[in-house]
Symmetry: C2
Subunit: 323 residues, 2 copies
Amino acid sequence: MGPVAAANNGKRVVVALGGNAAYPPTIRGTAEEQLEVMEGLCEHFVRMINAGYQLVITHGNGPVVGNILFRMAKTAVELPPMPMDVCVAHSQGGMGYMLEQSFQNVMRKRGCHASVAAVLTEVEVDPKDPAFANPTKPVGKFFSEADAKRLGQETGWDFIEDSGRGWRRVVPSPQPMEILDLPAIEALLAAGLIPIAAGGGGIPVIRNLDGDYKGVPAVIDKDLTSAMLAARLGAAAFIMLTGVEQVALDFGKPTQRAVAQLTASEARQHHKDGQFPPGNMGPKIDAALNYLHDYDGMVVITSLERAFDALTGSAGTRIVRDA
Amino acid sequence: MGPVAAANNGKRVVVALGGNAAYPPTIRGTAEEQLEVMEGLCEHFVRMINAGYQLVITHGNGPVVGNILFRMAKTAVELPPMPMDVCVAHSQGGMGYMLEQSFQNVMRKRGCHASVAAVLTEVEVDPKDPAFANPTKPVGKFFSEADAKRLGQETGWDFIEDSGRGWRRVVPSPQPMEILDLPAIEALLAAGLIPIAAGGGGIPVIRNLDGDYKGVPAVIDKDLTSAMLAARLGAAAFIMLTGVEQVALDFGKPTQRAVAQLTASEARQHHKDGQFPPGNMGPKIDAALNYLHDYDGMVVITSLERAFDALTGSAGTRIVRDA
């Protein structure tokens, strides 16, 4: 599974941004607040663009799609609620627009003449993916146990108790199989534009028995989709942003230590040993390994603040192919 | 104001689709229903693609953004409602995705190997546009007079009594000044993709005094934006779809007659004479005149069913430059 376009991609960098980074728990969530946060993110991205890197921005959508799902549920009596795939599409629309506008405003201030474009992204998943039999990904708001039980009976949704804060709907989190809008992302890159793509891990679709594409209620991990995108684009670098500058081993123990580099084998072994929690660093390590399996580039996990330095190898945790 | 790219655009066709065509009042509005309607639309579009035309699809969003605004208002106690520009972006996300998927499914059945891409589209308007002092465009749901008065006081929104069916919020409908995402649409076309763009007339933004782009609560007429897009792209044809096959003069009178062709001067004169109602055929005539002013191509107003024949000049009402 090599890159689609091998030409002239030495400066291509896929940057995967967390949904909470664009909508942190510290804000109430107005559009003004979100735009202010996004402008802060874009300062870092524009610095990369001005240094000659050709970015592709991917992003999570957790809080935003949670709000959209909540609004759908709350108005289900008056209006047919849109299913989860359409809600993800709404979130790609809203977040893509706000990110694009934040980019435009920061670029102007920083003398950057690039153009940004947000493109809707469908990602195909396998209807036989075992994840469909075992929903694990919490989405949307917290409910009381009673409300969760009632909603579960009414809608057939699955709920779990999440982190002691209440009950949340869980949906399957299948593996990405194919990024259906890859040609559009390639076209934008070829024209020198900066794509914003694969929001929320992509709109999850399957192919029916009759061959038709059809949306499914699921969440594709945005780091796994981003890794696939980075490999398919032949991006020389793939950066996953998170809350910490480096990956830690023995997290929370006296032996805790940050690591600057891991080989793929080391990362795989630590992962097996339970070093990386499922909801957090685990998918990032999986994504890094997938990218390295598919493409021989640079993959780094780091914080927004160190992302620029990570590009030159002087920050973050780099995962590298085995020698 | 000529085309950006003059090369190889003789087969470019911008097709502007009404918001009600994709979400007719006859459906309840589930995603399944919308997708079924859209597949019907795409049968016609794919026929054009298979005949060698390179389409750009634009679309209205009236019913969809109305639902989104309703959901925002109904959950405003629990969640900060997104402003109108973000709601338009949500609608571009949801409708763009569903149109794209409908295209994919119809194309496969019809042996068409094109790729479709939905791109978010911001459109700049002039903050000094007189429309801002005189909101005229109804959006969203109908309210009782009492509810409209209360909401007006709470939110500062303007309301009018609409068609005897109740009260509706009205927003300004300024002229499009610039399609900010034109480079992305050009890039997609250059790569042979079929862009879905300018949904709902585009996300309305102004430039602040400090130079920053900022969303505004407004609706840009989708036919006017589509006309600008068609001219900028140097599209050889611009087709506006509506409920009737041809434009009528003296509508509803004994002298009513459908017309196959109007010169720009004739159209302008009939418009002055009040032949074309403001909410309906009026903006389409304005859009046709704008396109002809900016670009010497073919512009037709017709129904979905006759759109293919309109391309060869054998259906619809064509408006042509004065000899």
